[in-house]
């Protein structure tokens, strides 16, 4: 109970502030408004999902937070810094859609990669690799190469690699999108446990409604052309959840609200 209280007190502190942010890609066919007038605050310890159809800018928004894309106008700060400063301070871990492991490195060497770049001591690296591979349940696979592992295990390795940096903020871009349903369920469960254990702030991009509702305490529904936020849904589900929660009326109510939001976004598409 005291845990819950401390979580609540932490949630008042914001980690990411987005104000009136827009991003336009110039193309030969004219400008593409990838993001338009985005306002969003993400608090410490939040698990926030961006959900929406393709082209709604959910990945672009995540990449702006990570300083992999730059906003055209508006402001954003991450941990009180610009995204650029936050990236230089290695304030976040990023998990890509594909596991993106380097094929010539063993799994443990892949997890060690960011630590080598940070120039940490060999002993520290060894300890962090061990700890994080254990955390994602990959102990014993240190010497394997990526191609020797299943897709789900590869993605777990890439999560361990992101966690090894020990960031407070985890940015995940459809990390389980390419995996089958069973593996995805399993990894969702593990990710929630991880979130509970480490109390990190997670920003998670997905196009799966059950995944978004199951994982998040806030769901940001986005719509395309121009990419914008359609709805922000607060979840009242308990932080500690089992997969079976997906059968409860509360879960289905939330899922329906997300679905309605997505539909409304799509109808805009048909009018245009």
């Amino acid at each position: 109970m005291s845990d819950l209280l401390s979580n609540n007190s932490q949630q008042t502190e914001s980690v990411i502030n987005v104000n009136n942010l827009s991003l336009t890609f110039p193309t030969s066919d004219g400008d593409v408004h990838a993001l338009s007038e985005i306002d969003l605050t993400i608090n410490r310890g939040d698990f926030v999902s961006f959900i929406g159809p393709s082209g709604c800018g959910k990945t672009t928004l995540l990449r702006v937070i990570a300083d992999l894309e730059q906003a055209t106008s508006g402001s954003i700060d991450v941990n009180g810094m610009t995204p650029h400063e936050a990236r230089l301070a290695r304030a976040y871990g990023y998990v890509f859609q594909a596991a993106s492991l380097y094929p010539w490195r063993t799994i443990s060497k892949n997890v060690a990669l960011p630590l080598e770049i940070m120039g940490l001591d060999a002993a520290v690296i060894r300890e962090r690799v061990r700890k994080n591979m254990e955390l994602v349940d990959l102990a014993g696979f240190e010497k394997k190469y990526p191609w020797q592992l299943s897709g789900g295990m590869q993605q777990r390795a890439s999560i361990a690699r992101a966690l090894a940096v020990e960031p407070d903020l985890l940015l995940m871009d459809e990390p389980f999108g390419a995996l089958d349903e069973i593996v995805r369920d399993h990894l969702n469960e593990q990710l929630l446990k991880l979130w509970a254990q480490t109390n990190k702030t997670v920003v998670f991009v997905t196009h799966s409604i059950p995944e978004a509702v199951y994982l998040s305490n806030r769901i940001v529904v986005m719509s395309p052309r121009p990419g914008r936020i359609h709805d922000v849904i607060e979840s009242n589900l308990p932080r500690d959840r089992e997969l079976s929660i997906r059968e409860t009326p509360e879960f289905l109510t939330l899922a329906n609200r997300v679905r309605d939001g997505l539909r409304a976004g799509h109808s805009y598409d048909e009018v245009a």
């Binding site: 300083d67 290695r90 890509f96 380097y102 490195r105 990669l113």
Partner: protein, 297 residues
């Protein structure tokens, strides 16, 4: 794979040898006819055909004559003898290996410069391409003479010509290889705030290695060609090129052909060795996913 490949290989080799014999007869028959005419004899057709394969200076020597000459000038001669093909091959080999190493290094350095600097890409690439449009036979004597004038002699001028030919495939392959990391692999480095040097050694270089070895296979073969060509215009006294030259002075076609065959065996061996090293490196890098890469060559 090994077993099923055996039969086709034997068939192809047999077909080539057979075709060679056919051409030997066709091309050497005229000489046999004129010999018979001058002697006023009329030998039977089969005698004439068998004679075409035993001429001393045939237009095209028969395969067994070339094999015999190679055996005579390799196993049956001392390696230090001027008549030993091994002696000549080793001279050509050493300058082409030196040129190959220099060409590989130069190629890698140029590729790195081109990949990391857009201005160098625009300014260097036209010159690199232009360098390869000049026939090497035209430029080889000049390089030898110029280098000789500034006191560079021996192995180095020949190695220079090998380098001149072999750096090109390395540049092209390495530029492609260094630019081949996936977007997400590069983004990853970006999120770690990795320096350019770190990105090079931890990502771009390992990604480029398969490209490097493919280029090196081409480079090693043409560096041998470069060394042989370099021996031609200089009146070299030793080397496979010198053997070719001497053979053509004295109409020793068998000698020419045996030097050619030895040169091609040498080239094939070198390409195979580079391929083996490439595979070994691939295995060391954990990239050897069974049967994913085709043949060894």
């Amino acid at each position: 794979m090994k077993k099923s490949a055996f039969f086709p290989i034997v068939v192809v080799v047999a077909a080539i040898v057979l075709l060679w014999y056919v051409f030997t007869v066709v091309m050497n028959l005229a000489w046999e006819k004129s010999v018979a005419e001058r002697a006023g004899t009329t030998p039977s057709f089969t005698t004439m055909v068998s004679n075409t394969m035993q001429q001393e200076r045939p237009v095209l020597p028969a395969p067994h004559q070339v094999v015999e000459e190679i055996i005579n000038t390799t196993f049956k001669k001392k390696i230090t003898s001027k008549r030993s093909l091994i002696y000549h091959a080793q001279i050509t080999l050493s300058s082409s290996m030196l040129g190959f190493l220099m060409g590989t290094l130069l190629g890698i350095v140029l590729a790195v410069a081109i990949v990391y600097n857009e201005a160098l890409n625009k300014s260097l690439m036209p010159w690199i391409i232009a360098s390869q449009t000049i026939p090497i036979l035209a430029i080889a004597p000049m390089i030898i003479v110029v280098l000789n004038a500034i006191g560079v002699q021996g192995l180095l001028p020949k190695a220079f010509i090998s380098m001149y030919l072999s750096f090109f495939p390395i540049v092209v392959g390495m530029v492609k290889g260094l630019n081949s990391p996936e977007r997400s692999h590069l983004d990853l480095m970006h999120t770690y705030n990795a320096s350019a040097v770190q990105t090079f050694f931890k990502l771009r270089l390992p990604t480029s290695l398969p490209y490097l070895f493919t280029s090196m296979k081409i480079a090693v073969a043409i560096s041998l060609v470069g060394a042989i060509v370099a021996e031609l215009p200089t009146g070299a006294v030793a080397g496979l090129g010198a053997r070719l030259l001497a053979g053509s002075y004295y109409g020793q076609t068998i000698q020419i052909w045996s030097a050619l065959v030895v040169a091609s065996i040498l080239a094939a061996t070198l390409v195979m060795l580079v391929g083996l090293v490439g595979e070994w490196v691939n295995r060391r890098m954990g990239l050897a996913q069974s049967n994913s890469s085709g043949g060894t060559l």
